[in-house]
Symmetry: D2
Subunit: 443 residues, 4 copies
C-alpha cells in the first residue's frame, strides 16, 4: 500500500471467498492478507475448488501461514459453491476451466496452423474464454443468490472477456476485473525515471492485455519523451523485458505500448520464440505447478515459498489489496482497472469492458473520460473488442458461426480458413466443456 | 481544506495575478491566502483593474490584511495587463464588463418583456456573455504571451459560457472554470444528513448553473431517497433555500436539482419574485458594493469585514484553494469543476464546457465519465448548451443573427418575437461594449 | 401521382383494411382508390370501427361511391378487429380514442392553465398519445397475428409518437407513419416558385409536426434565399398561411420552418388566437363532423362531398397512394415519411421516429442520411423527442411519474407546477381510457 | 442505361475534361459518349496528359471514333492543366503517378517482405496513394480556379483514399468517387438470380474495394440465402470469379463479401497466387498497355478495340454515364458511389469517404443511412479507414512517422517491423514523387 494509507483505520472483512481457491496463486493472496493486516482484517477466508487434492494442499498451507502470522482468520475449504459464497462480502474468482491440460491445447492447436496460441490473446484466449464464460456466469448467478452485496473481483483469464461477460450477462452490479500488468508497468516506469511509484500518473488507455500509455506524468509534467528515450538506452533489464519493443515503434506511436502488444506488433518473432522454445508456456507452468504443489505439501512450510515468483503473478495480491482498501475506505484514489466502459472511451460500446484509470470509492470504480482514441490504436481496439464481444455471444448462444466470426475478427488469426479450422478443432478438443455448441439446432 | 491535507507540505506560488482585482470579492480571496498559509504561500499578489479607485481601495485593504497576518506577501497594483500577468503561475479572472450598471440593464430589458433577466442564466446571462467574451479572450491572449505556463482560473460569469469560450478560442491549455454552487451544495447536503462533508460523494452532472445531483453516496451507499425526503421534512432552512423545489419535482426527477434550476422549473414564480422585489439583484448588489467599498476604505480595517458575506460568494475562495492545492500537490482528489467535456457527457460536443466531477492532479482536472444523461435532463442540457455555443459564435463573429438564434434557443426566452426584441435592445444598450456587432458587413 | 408513373403497370391489392374506418376522412381515401384505379386496384376494402353508426354511414357511402365508379371493389364492414384484418396486405390506422369529446378535453385542460392544448403538439398531444398508444399497440398485435405481412400505415395522431410506439413496442417490421404536411409544403413552395412540384427537392429534417426545410433545390440549385424572400413579399395567400412566420425568423434561421413550428416560435400569439376564437378546433371539427355525417347519410350522395375539404386533410390520400404505389412497384423514389431513425439524424436514438426523406422501394422506406443537425434546431428536436419518448414509456408502464416528466420536458409546458397539474387533471379526465395509471402499485 | 431513361430528354455537356486523358482506358469512355448520345451530348472533350505520346495516340483514336460515329464533338488535347479545365462542367480524373513502372514497385517491395502488393489495397495501395494525393490536390486546386462549378468524378486509384483526400483537403464541394465493382457485382448477381439488373436492390455497405452486400432484394423480398446458395452451387463461372469465397465464409458472414475482400479473407492464397504467377499484375498490364497503344496507333482503327476488355475496366464508362445522367436530369435514382460519409455509417467520421447507395439528383449524391455496422465487418472497416486516413495525413504533412503508422494500421501488413521496412523502402524508391518526405524537418 502507498504511504498515505499509513495511520488510517483498519477495516474488517467478515468473509472473503476465493473461487478457484486451490490455485497455486492462492498463497500469494494469503500472504497479502498477512502483510496488510494493519489495513484489512479478514475473519473468514473461504476457499472453493472442484479439485479436492489441490484444495487440501493449499488449504493446509493457508492454515499454517495464518497460524505463523498469529492471525485468528478462519480458513474454510469448500467443494460446494453455495456454502463457500454464503454471506461473503468479497468474492475473488481465479478459475481455470480444464486446468493446464486445456490451456496446452489452446496453445497447440493454433500453433499447428502457424498461429499464436496463448492463454489470453488470439485464438487461444478465445478458446479459453469459450470454456470459461459459462462457468463464470454460473458462479455469478450463485453470488447473486448467496452473496448479493459482495464485490466480485475477477482475476480469471482472459479477464477482458470474462469481465465483460459478467457485466453483460452476470446480473451483478459490483464486478471489477483486475490484472497485474498496470501495477507492474507503473512500478517499472517509476524505477526507470527514478521517482516514487506514487508520483507517476499513467495516461493509460486499453482493454485488458491491450494497453497503451499515452503519457507519463510526474508532478503534472509530461515525461513521455524521456521514457521513450530511456526505454532504448537505459541498462534497466526489467524495463526492457516489460516493454520489449524497438525504437522505431516507440517513435512512431509516441506512446508506450504495454507488454502484451508484442503479440500484435511483433507477431512473427513471438510465434518464432514459442516454436523455438520447444515447450509452450502452459507446459512450463504445468511443471512449475507440480513443483509448487509438492512444496506446498511440506508440513513445515508456513510462509509463501519464493518459488511462487516464477509462476508469474507479481504484485497480483498488491493490486487486489489496493482495490479492496479503496472500496472499504471510500478512498477515491485512481487505479487502473477493468470496468464497464460507460462512455469513457467513446468509440466503444457502453457495456464493453475496458482497462482504464478509475476513481475508486466505496461505491466502486468510476472510469475517467479518456476522450477520443489516438488513430493508431483504433484498429487494434476495434478488432480485439469485436472479437471479444462476438466470443461472448458465441459462448452464451452456443453458436459455432459466431465463434468462427470471433476468430476471424481477431487480428492474430490470418484469414477465414485459419479461423474456421482453428475454431472447429478447438471446439472439438474441448467438447466436454462446451456442450452448448453440440446441442441439436445450434448454428 | 480537508483533514487529509494536514501534515502535508507547504507549496509556494511565486506570483498570483487577479484580473478584476478591484472587485469587492477580492478580500474573500485574500482572506483565503491568510487562512491557508500553511498549505500555500504566495510571494506576490498582483491586482489588475481598469478602475483605478476600486483598485486603490481594495489594494490598500489587501496590504493591511497581509500586514496584520504578518505575511511577507507583496501586493502589486496594476492598470496595465502585461506587467500584471508577467511571470504569474496562477491567473484568476473575475471581471464584470460594464460593472453593475450593465448588469442592471441585463436584468431590466428582458423583464420589460416579461422575461427573466439574470446575471448568468437566460437573456441576461447571454447579454453578459456577449460583452465579456471578447474581453476574456483578450486577457487569455495576454496570458498566453506573458504567463504561458499559468493556470487560468475563471470565476467570471457566466462561467459556463466564458470557460467554453476560453477553451474554444482562448488558445490556452490550462483553463478551469470555478463556481461555489457545488461546494455549497455539498456542504448543505452533508449538514442535512449529519455527516462530514468529505464523506459525501455527489454524482453531479451539469453545466455551470444547470446541475443535477443524481445520487448522494455516503460510504458508497445511496442516500438519495433520504435526501429527497429530508429536503421536504427537515427544518433545515439553509437546505430549503438552497434547494427550493417542491415534493412533486423531487419525486418525479428522483434527483436533486440544484439552485439555479429554479429559473427553469419555477419560471413564473421567479419572475414574480423579481418583479415584486421592486429592485433587481443588480440594484441591491450595487448598494452593497458601495457600502463595502466605503467600509474597505477605512484605514483601520485590516480583516475581511463580515458584511462581505451578504455579497453572495460563500466558499468562493475555499473552492479556489482546494483547486490550487490539488494542482500544486498533485493530489488527485475529486472536485466538481467547469472543464472541457471530452466525452464525459457523451451527448455534448467534446469542446463544450461542462460542470462535473474531475480528478485533479498537477496536470489539471480530468473529468470522470458520466455515462448517458437521464432523459429528463436532456432538453435543458441541450437547449442551454446550444444557446451558450451560439452565443460564443455570435460574440466572436459579431453576428446579430447568431445572437438572436442564441436567445431563441434559450429555454427562458419564449418565442421568436421576444428573442428578436430582447436581443436588439440589449445590443443597442450595450453598444459601446459590442463594437463588433455594429461594424459594416456584420450580419 | 407524378407523370413518370404513367404507362406503368397496374398493381392489385387483395385486401385493404382501414382501422377507424368510420372516420369522416374515409371518403377522401376511397376517392383516392377511384382516382388511382389505373395504378392500383383493390379487391376488398375492409372498414373496421367500434362505432356502429359511423361505420354504417361511411360504409354506405363507400358502396355508392364504388358503384358509381363502376369498380368491383368489395366493401366489408367490421366491428371485430380479427376478421377485419385477416389477410390484408395493407392496414391503414386512423383512430381517435375518445373521439372529439376527448380531444376537446385535451384542448381545454391545458388552456385553463394558460398552456396550449392541441391534438398533436404540447400537453394536448401528449394526452392524446397516452390514450392512443395502448390501443395502437393492441391493433399492432392483432395485425401481427392476422396480417403479419401487411404494411401498417399510420395516420393516427400524434403520428410522431404513435409511429415510434409501434416501432419500439409494436413487434411489426413494416410500419410507416404518414402526414400530409410534407406533401402540402412541397406543393405550396412549388407554386410559390412557379415550378412543377416534382422539380423540387426539399432538404427536410424533422419529427412529425416539427419540421424544417434546410434548402429548396430546383434542378440541383439552391433556391432557399428566393423562397425566404417570396414568403415575405409574394401575394400568395396559401403560402403565407402555410408558413405563417415573420421575416426576422426566416432570416435568422436561414431555413423554412414548417407550419406546426408556429406553436413553438409564436407561442403567445397562437394561445391568444385559440382563446379569442371562443371555440377550440375540436369543437369546430365536432360540428363539421356532424354535418359531414349527415351529408354522408344522403342515399343520393355517391361522390366525396366538397365539404370534406374543410375537415383539414388535404392531400392525405395522395400521400397514401404515393407511398403505396412505390411499395407495390419497387419504385425507389424519394418521399418524406415518418420512419425509424436508424442514424439518419445522428443526434437522435436509432429507434426514434423521425420525419425525413426516404427512398421507397418494395422493401419499404430507407431514410437518407441527414448529417448533423443545424444548432438552431437542436433544442426543439431534443425537447420534443425526449417528451415523446418519455410519453411512450409512461403509457406502456402506466407511470404517472414519467407522464409528468414527459409533460415537463415539453417545450410548450412552462415549469413543473403546470406539468404536474395538467398531467394529473388530464389523467383524471381520461381515466376510463387509462386504467394502467390507476392500478395498484403504479407510480 | 436503364429502360426508364428511354424517351427522356437529351442533355448537353459543354465541355468534359479528362485528366489523365492519355490513359488506355480513355477509348472506353469515348465509346460511352457515342453509345449514350441519345441521353448526353458533349460539345468538347478535353484530354489532358503529361505524357505527349500517349496523348497523341489516344487523341488520334478519339477523333477517328467520333468521326465514324458522325458526332460533332470537338476533341482537344492539352499538356497544360489550366486550359484543359477552363470552363468544363465535368472533370474526370484517371491519373496514375509514375505509370506502370511505379505500380510495379508498389507490388514488388511489399512482396519481397512476404506482404501483398497491390494497386489499391494493402501496402501497395498506400504507396500509390502517397504519390497520388499531392497531384490530385493540385488538380483539385486548378479545378477550383478554372472550373469551379464542375463535377469532379474521381476514377483515380486508390479511389477510397483519393476521394477522401479530395473531400478533406480539395476545397471542392462537388466530388464523387466512382468504381466499377458495384455495377459489376449488381449485374453478376442479377444474372445469377435470373432477374433484370434493375430489379435488384443491393444493401451494400463499404469503403471502396472493401464492400459487403448485406442483402439482395428483389421486389422487396430478401434473396440473400438463395444467393449464398447459388454462389456455391451454380455453374456460373463469372459469379464464382467475382465472389471467390468458400461456403463457410458465406455461411458465417450471412452476407456476400465483394471481390477485393479476398485479399483480407484469403490473404495467404492471394499472396501465393501472385508469387506463383511469376509476373505481377502491373507487369502484365504494362504489356497489355503497350499492345493497346500500338493498336490505338493504327490509323484505320476507329472503334474501341475488343482487346481493351482485357485491361479490366468493365462497365467503367457505364458507371460514369449513369452518374452523369442523374446529375444532369435530377433523376434521384439510387447508385452506389464513393462519397462523404456524413453519418450514413455512424461508426465512421463524417468526412470519411464511404462507398454506399446514394440518391443522385442534380445537387449530387446524398447517402442513404445504413444504421449500425454488422459486428463482423467492424474490424476491417476500422483498420482500413484508419490506415487510409493516416495515409492522407502522412501525404499532406510529408510525415514518415504517419506513413509508418498508416502501414502499421493496415490489416495486410503484419507487425511493426514490416510496416517500417516497407514504408521506408517505398518512400526511397518513389523519392522523386515524394519530395515532401525528404524536406528538412519532416518527421
Amino acid at each position: 500500500m502507498e504511504p498515505t494509507a499509513k495511520g488510517m483505520d483498519t477495516y474488517t472483512i467478515g468473509k472473503f471467498a476465493v473461487v478457484g481457491g486451490g490455485s497455486t496463486y492462492t498463497p500469494e493472496l494469503l500472504d497479502g492478507f498477512i502483510a496488510h493486516q494493519d489495513e484489512i482484517r479478514v475473519e473468514t477466508i473461504s476457499l472453493y475448488d472442484i479439485h479436492p487434492q489441490r484444495l487440501a494442499i493449499v488449504g493446509g498451507l493457508a492454515q499454517r501461514m495464518f497460524r505463523r502470522a498469529e492471525l485468528a482468520t478462519r480458513i474454510e475449504l469448500h467443494q460446494e459453491l453455495a456454502p463457500a459464497l454464503e454471506g461473503s462480502s468479497f468474492v475473488l474468482s481465479q478459475i481455470r476451466v480444464g486446468l493446464m491440460a486445456a490451456r496446452i491445447i489452446d496453445e497447440k492447436i493454433p500453433l499447428s496452423h502457424g498461429v499464436l496460441g496463448q492463454e489470453t490473446v488470439g485464438a487461444g484466449g478465445l478458446a479459453n474464454a469459450l470454456r470459461t464464460i459459462p462457468e463464470s456466469l454460473r458462479i455469478a448467478e450463485e453470488v447473486g443468490r448467496h452473496a448479493p452485496d459482495a464485490w466480485f473481483l475477477n482475476f480469471t483469464n482472459p479477464s477482458s472477456i470474462i469481465t465483460q461477460a459478467l457485466i453483460q450477462h452476470g446480473g451483478l452490479g459490483k464486478v471489477v476485473g483486475l490484472c497485474n500488468v498496470p501495477i507492474n508497468s507503473q512500478r517499472s516506469l517509476a524505477n526507470l525515471l527514478g521517482v516514487g511509484e506514487q508520483k507517476l500518473w499513467l495516461d493509460w488507455i486499453g482493454l485488458n492485455h491491450l494497453g497503451w500509455i499515452r503519457d507519463v506524468l510526474v508532478d503534472g509534467r509530461s515525461r513521455i519523451s524521456e521514457v521513450l528515450d530511456l526505454l532504448q538506452k537505459s541498462p534497466d533489464e526489467e524495463a526492457h523485458s516489460r516493454f520489449p519493443f524497438e525504437l522505431g515503434l516507440f517513435e512512431s506511436l509516441q506512446m508506450v505500448p504495454t507488454y502484451y502488444l508484442r503479440y500484435y506488433y511483433t507477431t512473427k518473432q513471438t510465434i518464432q520464440e514459442v516454436l523455438s522454445a520447444g515447450k509452450t508456456r502452459g507446459e512450463v507452468v504445468a511443471e512449475i505447478e507440480n513443483e509448487l504443489l509438492t512444496r506446498y505439501k511440506d508440513p513445515h512450510l508456513d510462509v509463501k515459498p519464493p518459488e511462487l515468483n516464477q509462476r508469474g503473478g507479481a504484485l497480483y495480491s498488491e493490486a487486489a489489496f489496493r482495490l479492496m482498501f479503496s472500496l472499504l475506505s471510500d478512498r477515491r484514489d485512481v487505479q487502473i482497472l477493468i470496468v464497464r466502459n460507460d462512455g469513457a472511451i467513446p468509440e466503444l460500446p457502453a457495456d464493453a469492458s475496458v482497462e482504464i484509470p478509475c476513481v475508486v470509492g466505496a461505491a466502486g470504480p468510476v472510469p475517467i473520460a479518456r476522450g477520443k482514441l489516438p488513430p493508431s490504436t483504433r484498429p487494434l481496439f476495434e478488432a480485439v473488442k469485436t472479437s471479444e464481444s462476438l466470443c461472448i455471444e458465441a459462448a452464451v448462444q452456443g453458436s459455432r458461426r459466431l465463434a468462427r466470426l470471433s476468430m476471424l475478427a481477431n487480428p492474430l488469426v490470418p484469414g477465414y480458413e485459419a479461423a474456421e479450422s482453428i475454431t472447429d478443432e478447438l471446439l472439438q478438443a474441448h467438447r466436454v466443456y462446451l456442450p452448448q455448441f453440440f446441442e441439436k439446432g445450434s448454428v
